[in-house]
Amino acid sequence: MDDEPIVRWYWIGDHLGYLGHLLADHAVIALVPVLVGLLLAVPLGLACARFPRLYQPLSAVFNIVYALPSLAVFVVLIPYTGLATQATVMIPLTFYALAVLLPTTVDGLRAVPDAVRQAATAMGYGPWHRLTSVELPAAVPYLIAGLRVAAVSSISLASVGALVGRGGLGYLFIDGFQRTFPTPIVAGIALIAALALAVDLLLVGARRVLAPWAVREKGAGS
C-alpha cells in the first residue's frame, strides 16, 4: 500500500460508463423505498394522529426496526427474495424509511394549532377537505425534513447491500477491498455523497416551492 496513491484518475476515466450504471442502480435501490415509505407513512401517520393509542405500540415497533442491522435483515430475506435481487435490499430499506417518516408525519399533523383547525371547521371545511387543504399542507415542512433524513440514510445504507450481491455503488467497496485498490472505494464514497447531496438539495428546493412559508428549518428527527 506504500506506493499506491489514494486515487488513480485513469481508472475513473476508463470506467465512466460502469460507474454511471452503478449510480443509476444505486439511485433506484435507495430511493424507491423512500417513496414507498412516504406513501405508507402518510396514511399510517393519519391513523396515529387520529387514534393516539395506536401510535405508542407502532413507534415502539419501528424503534426496534430502526435498530435492526441492515446486513442481518438482508441475509434473513435471501431465502425468500433471492441472492443479489433488488427486493432483498429494497424491502428492508422501505421499513427503515418508514421508521424515520412515521414519527415526522405524526409530529407534523400534531403541530397544526387547534385554533387553525377550529377556524377551518368554522369556515365550513368538512373533515376530508380540512385534511387535504389545511392539515397535510401544514405537515409538509415536517415531511420534507423527515424525507431528507430518510433519503440520505437510505442512500448510505443501500451500499451495505453489496455484501449480499446488490448494493449499487457499494459494489465498488467490495471490489476495491478485495484487490487492495483504493480508487474504486474512493469513487464509490464520492458518488454516494454526491447523490445524497443532490437529493438533499432537491428536497430543500421542493420545500421552497411546496411550503414557502416555512423559511426556518422545522425540527428534523435525528
Partner: protein, 225 residues
C-alpha cells in the same frame, strides 16, 4: 418451525458456548468496539457541541456538516481505512466515530440552545462566569436532549459495528458474515438476533437513564413536553 430449531442449534452449539467464537466473547467484543467508538465520538463532539451551542457561532455549518456525514457509507469508510491503516480496531473505529459524532454534536448544540434565555441571563446576573453557566445551567438543561442523542448514536453504532466483521474483525458481525459465507443461515440469523437484542437493551438502558438519572427539575420539564 425450522427457525426455532435453527436458533436452538445456534445457541447450543459447543463452539458458541465457550472459546473465542462463544456468544459471550462475541458480545463483549461487540460492546467494547461500540463503547470505544461512542467514547471517542463523545469526547470529540460533546465539548465542541456545547461550545457551539453556547456561543451560537457556527450552528449552521455544524448542522450542515452533520447532515453530510450521514451520507458517508460505513462500509466504504471501513474498507478504505483497512487498506491504509491495516486490519485493526482503528480501521473500524474511524467510521464508527464518524457515524456516532454527528447525532451527538447536533444533540449537544440543540440542547444548549434550548436553554431558556431568561435562565441564562439570571445565572449571569447572580454572578456566574460563562464557564459556570455552561456547566451548571446549560449542561443540566441540555441533559435530556443529550441523552436522546446518545441513544440514537448508540443504537446506530451497535447495529453498524456488524460491518466490522467483513474486514476480519470480531464482534457479533462474525456470526452474520461467517454464516453468510458458509451458507449457515442459522448462524447468521442468530448473530442478527443478538445484535437486535443488544440494541433493544441499549434503548431500554437509555429510557431508564432518562427516567431516573436526569436532574429532578429537568426531568419534570422533560416529561411535560
Amino acid at each position: 418451525m425450522n427457525w426455532l430449531t435453527w436458533l436452538g442449534d445456534f445457541f447450543t452449539a459447543a463452539d458458541h458456548r465457550s472459546g473465542p467464537d462463544s456468544i459471550a466473547h462475541r458480545v463483549s467484543e461487540h460492546l467494547v468496539l461500540s463503547g470505544e467508538a461512542l467514547l471517542f465520538a463523545a469526547l470529540l463532539a460533546v465539548p465542541l457541541g456545547l461550545l457551539i451551542g453556547y456561543t451560537g457561532r457556527g450552528v449552521t455549518v455544524v448542522t450542515a456538516m452533520a447532515g453530510a456525514a450521514r451520507a458517508l457509507p460505513t462500509l466504504g469508510l471501513v474498507t478504505l481505512a483497512v487498506l491504509f491503516a491495516g486490519v485493526g480496531d482503528t480501521a473500524v473505529l474511524i467510521p464508527l466515530v464518524a457515524l456516532a459524532a454527528p447525532p451527538l454534536l447536533v444533540a449537544s448544540v440543540e440542547g444548549v440552545r434550548g436553554t431558556d434565555p431568561d435562565v441564562r441571563d439570571a445565572a449571569r446576573g447572580i454572578g456566574l462566569t460563562h464557564s459556570q453557566v455552561l456547566r451548571q445551567v446549560c449542561l443540566p438543561a441540555a441533559a435530556p436532549t443529550l441523552l436522546a442523542g446518545f441513544r440514537t448514536a448508540t443504537v446506530q453504532v451497535i447495529a453498524t459495528a456488524t460491518v466490522a466483521a467483513y474486514v476480519g474483525l470480531g464482534g457479533l458481525g462474525r456470526y452474520v458474515i461467517d454464516g453468510l459465507a458458509t451458507r449457515k443461515y442459522a448462524v447468521t440469523v442468530g448473530g442478527a438476533l443478538l445484535v437486535v437484542l443488544l440494541a433493544v437493551a441499549a434503548q431500554l438502558f437509555f429510557a431508564l437513564l432518562a427516567r431516573f438519572a436526569l436532574p429532578p427539575g429537568v426531568r419534570a420539564q422533560h416529561r411535560a413536553r
